[in-house]
């Protein structure tokens, strides 16, 4: 099974509102064009929600730990996805629509059964 999420403008604006992070790189197109990315990018935790949401399904994972490495930015409009791996179920990577790794993650502790 593969989980996907389109990182649209509404998600980025919603995260800005909920986190209070209105950094120009996320919300100001003109300012973002002047950066090395050349465009707005999502807050790192936004694409991460495709994993947190599908693994924990809203259940607060008491006692579990998650380590995340943000490897590459995710642009507005990009579709990210991750595919659970049966061999290393606690580790994974989120890739963008070009197949590039954007986020690496590892969860410590037994994963809950989905469903």
């Amino acid at each position: 099974m593969k989980y996907s999420l389109v990182i649209d403008n509404n998600l980025v604006l919603a995260f800005a509102e909920l986190s209070g992070d209105f950094n120009a790189i996320h919300i100001d197109e003109a300012a973002a064009r002047k950066t090395r990315f050349g465009q707005r990018i999502a807050h790192g935790p936004v694409p991460l929600t495709v994993v947190v949401g599908s693994v924990f399904r809203g259940r607060w994972p008491t006692g579990r730990e998650m380590t995340v490495k943000y490897v590459a930015p995710v642009a507005i409009g990009d579709e990210v996805s991750w595919t659970p791996n049966d061999i290393t179920p606690n580790k994974g990577e989120i890739v963008n629509s070009a197949g590039q790794v954007a986020i690496l993650f590892e969860i410590e502790g037994a994963l809950p059964e989905n469903g």
């Binding site: 995260f15 509102e17 120009a24 790189i25 002047k34 807050h43 935790p45 579990r64 730990e65 943000y70």
Partner: protein, 142 residues
Amino acid sequence: MSTPGGLLALAELSIGKRFGPHSVAVTRDFCANWNATFEPHATNGSDVLGPGSVSALILRVAALAYGRIPDGAILAKQWIRWGQPPMVDRDLAANLTIMAVEIKNGRPWVTFQVDFQQDEKDVALVSMTWLWPTETRLGETR
């Protein structure tokens, strides 16, 4: 010394410096909005906060502690340990601690950690490592 934008200067982010406790409200509106937007797989509604929300809450604490994340800062790493689930419509007490300030290849890296508690129980411990801008104005740091 603060920057003109009200942000703390990099030099002020000394290791071990602690900000707080700050009070962070977990309202039903916040809960409902977070769950509906970012954790729609769940059916939590507004009564149970989704676990991914700690990534937004830590940024709220950062804003309370020292203004906001400066323009040009790039999030590189994050670590989360979840404790007891928080009660909704109650405040969290949050402390932010500067854990590391390192210069690598001439660029500053800042790690801070926030502990969230409610009724003296650990709700979450979250750290973030940022490539910190040497200037706070976007476009001058690249």
